[in-house]
């Protein structure tokens, strides 16, 4: 027990508990739905998770710094549409360039948000509530009500969602899912080991202290928004590839899905703690609930009510478990501290 307590923190157990919840959910649904354990179920969940996850990674960084980015849905929609329009007009555009266009556009939109929050000192919820409306408004005007259609897009893009990264037995791991997982791994490692990225945690944990020890707090917040925008841009590209038909409505309301994933994934909404891996688990949890509920033979109209309930349960059980663990941990810590200097006391 002591060893466990030394090496595993409650925060890690939180992710583990979410993982357990996911396994439990899969087992429960598996017993209720015929033919649940198929590669198709996996693919459904994996592909619907892929895009949300990429956005949720960016959102996690923003939330870590005690901010929130509600503009992500609009950024995904704008980049999907704009990149789609460019590809429709210039079929010869190399894939890499298309991805870069999407990311650059997302980056620019994120940078505007970030500049307003970090340097304009406007609370992030106000900035992103505003830019949520503004970006969408610009898209509606820019689009001229046209829809980007699948057949106007180059073939490589249309085939992208079906591209397999690797096939294990029955299981096709699609490239887009692999990409999302890759990004999670990259950012998980980055936020664990890169000193620059650890600043997101420090900044969100205690902004005053961060300022006092000379961290560039504004730059940190700014870069969180830029990364969130850039990842949303990448997600916009993935969105374009997956859905092909992009209207001005694209990804409307995605911000709520993303925030839900981040919250269920155990990222503290008040900053400072949580991981991108947790956010991905949150996205997976919600996708499993959504996809599985649909397949149960219940009315279409019951889904939202049950989904709301399950999200609440996920958050609540997670919080209760975590509180218990924290209490156990801090009790032992208290004992440690009440005997300060046991090692060297005279």
């Amino acid at each position: 027990m002591r060893w466990l307590q030394r090496h595993i923190r409650p925060e890690q157990i939180r992710e583990f508990s979410l993982l357990l919840l996911i396994v439990a959910a899969v087992l429960i649904f598996g017993s209720m739905i015929d033919g649940y354990y198929t590669s198709r179920t996996f693919n459904r969940i994996a592909s619907s998770v892929a895009i949300i996850t990429v956005v949720a990674v960016g959102q996690t960084l923003v939330v870590l710094t005690r901010n929130i980015d509600l503009a992500v849905g609009s950024i995904v929609g704008c980049t999907a549409y704009f990149t789609g329009a460019q590809l429709a007009a210039h079929h010869g555009l190399p894939p890499v360039v298309a991805v870069l266009i999407a990311m650059a556009l997302g980056c620019a939109m994120g940078a505007i948000n970030g500049a307003l929050v970090a340097y304009g000192r406007v609370p992030s919820i106000i900035v992103t509530l505003g830019s949520l409306a503004i970006y969408r408004g610009i898209l509606i005007d820019y689009s001229g009500a046209r829809t980007v259609t699948t057949d106007s897009l180059p073939k490589w893009l249309i085939d992208l969602p079906r591209l397999n990264f690797i096939t294990i037995g029955d299981l096709d791991i699609r490239a887009m899912f692999a990409l999302a997982v890759g990004i999670v791994v990259l950012f998980q490692i980055g936020t664990s080991f890169l000193n620059v990225a650890r600043r997101f945690y420090a900044m969100g944990s205690n902004p005053d202290a961060a300022e006092l020890i000379g961290m560039p707090t504004r730059q940190i917040v700014f870069s969180a928004f830029v990364l969130s925008g850039t990842l949303s841009g990448l997600a916009g590209f993935m969105f374009l590839a997956r859905f092909g038909n992009i209207t001005v409505e694209a990804a409307r309301g995605m911000e709520l899905q993303v925030v839900a994933a981040v919250v269920v994934g155990g990222v503290n909404i008040f900053g400072g703690s949580g991981t991108v891996f947790g956010a991905m688990l949150g996205a997976i949890m919600i996708a499993i609930l959504e996809q599985s509920l649909f397949r149960l033979q219940i009315s279409e109209f019951w889904r939202d009510a049950i989904l709301g309930l399950l999200i609440l349960m996920a958050v609540a059980s997670d919080a209760v478990i975590l509180n218990r663990l924290r209490a156990i941990w801090s009790r032992t810590e208290l004992k440690l501290v009440t005997r300060p200097g046991t090692g060297a006391a005279p």
Binding site: V127, L129, G130, I140, V263, W302, D304, A305, L312, A319
Partner: protein, 321 residues
């Protein structure tokens, strides 16, 4: 920071915006000053601004309620469903209000007694309560309410004022008194500033928080019923997405999203600013997406410009901030 104190006040800025917008409206639209138009200006957003009053208290308390629009839908659907199941209208309306109280109590329980973040709980409520409304009405639309109900929502009751507008005005006064003069209002602020200090002062913080969310549910339910009366019929998508407009109004009113500060005067002015802006743009034939973009920009600029002015000012004073 040696700006004249009056200009430092958020409310002064809002008042200035209001004067400019109203001035432009008067100059550019001959229809603006009509009594009918002024009534319409309120009437078209009346439910949102009623909910905004209660949301002000919730945000000052340091919480947020994202589920209000879904509760509006829920109460409408409960009322419509029970009415069509043969209940008398009075009981159906009571059921609608009760559904709001229950929804608010559920939110409040998880937030106050279990300690979950309100953002997460009410996000689940946003999805879940809408879901319950959907279960009740499915793809149907319910109309055929008693004539008095529809008239209450649509016809003037007192002079040019409709029932909803009277409710709003009464609630505004009531909320202003509650928030700024009553013990309850004091506790809302104290808890928003420092919930621990409140607890250590013997404030029953859990109970206050629970009651606030119940009140929020009831007010949202009331607004939903007023909305049904105004529209004369009920569907499952009643008031979808209203929460963003409501929160926008409150934040533009100078209420800090972190709780503890803000007042109803600011929110009242913010309501007037947004309503007049929308009305003016509507009369100028400016479409929906431009309207929301303009309000989005206004929201950002209203915080950014004073910030920059302050920054510039202190730079001119030769001091670092």
């Amino acid at each position: 920071m040696t700006l004249p104190p009056i200009l430092r006040r958020w409310e002064a800025l809002l008042l200035l915006m209001l004067v400019v917008i109203a001035g432009l409206n008067i100059v550019y639209s001959p229809f603006y000053l009509g009594v009918g138009n002024i009534v319409n200006l309120f009437q078209l957003s009346i439910e949102k601004i009623i909910v905004a009053l209660m949301m002000t208290l919730i945000i000052i308390n340091g919480e947020i309620d994202l589920s209000v629009a879904s509760v509006m839908g829920l109460s409408s659907c409960v009322t419509a469903y029970t009415f069509h199941a043969g209940w008398p209208m009075g009981w159906a309306l009571t059921a609608g209000l009760a559904s709001g109280a229950v929804a608010g109590a559920i939110n409040g329980f998880w937030i106050a007694y279990v300690g979950l973040p309100s953002l997460a709980v009410t996000l689940a409520g946003l999805i879940g309560y809408r879901g319950v409304a959907r279960i009740l009405v499915e793809d149907r639309a319910y109309g055929g309410f008693p004539e008095w109900f529809n008239q209450l929502g649509q016809q003037p009751l007192l002079g040019p004022l409709t029932f909803s507008i009277i409710i709003f005005l009464a609630m505004f006064v009531f909320m202003a008194v509650v928030l700024h003069r009553s013990a309850a209002g004091r506790l809302v602020y104290v808890m928003g500033n420092n919930v621990q200090a409140a607890r250590y002062s013997g404030v029953r913080v859990k109970r206050v928080k629970l009651l606030l969310f119940v009140a929020s549910g009831v007010v949202a339910a009331l607004a939903g019923l007023l909305y049904s009366a105004r529209l004369g019929s009920v569907r499952g998508d009643m008031a979808v997405g209203f929460e963003l407009d409501v929160i926008t109004i409150v934040l533009l009113g100078g209420v800090s999203i972190f709780g503890g500060s803000g007042n109803l005067l600011g929110v009242g002015l913010s309501i007037l600013v947004i309503l007049n802006l929308r009305n003016g743009m509507g009369l100028a034939d400016i479409t929906g997406n431009t309207q929301t973009s303009v309000i989005g920009a206004l929201l950002i600029l209203s915080v950014l410009v004073p910030n920059m002015a302050r920054g510039l000012h202190s730079k001119l004073q030769g001091r670092e901030t």
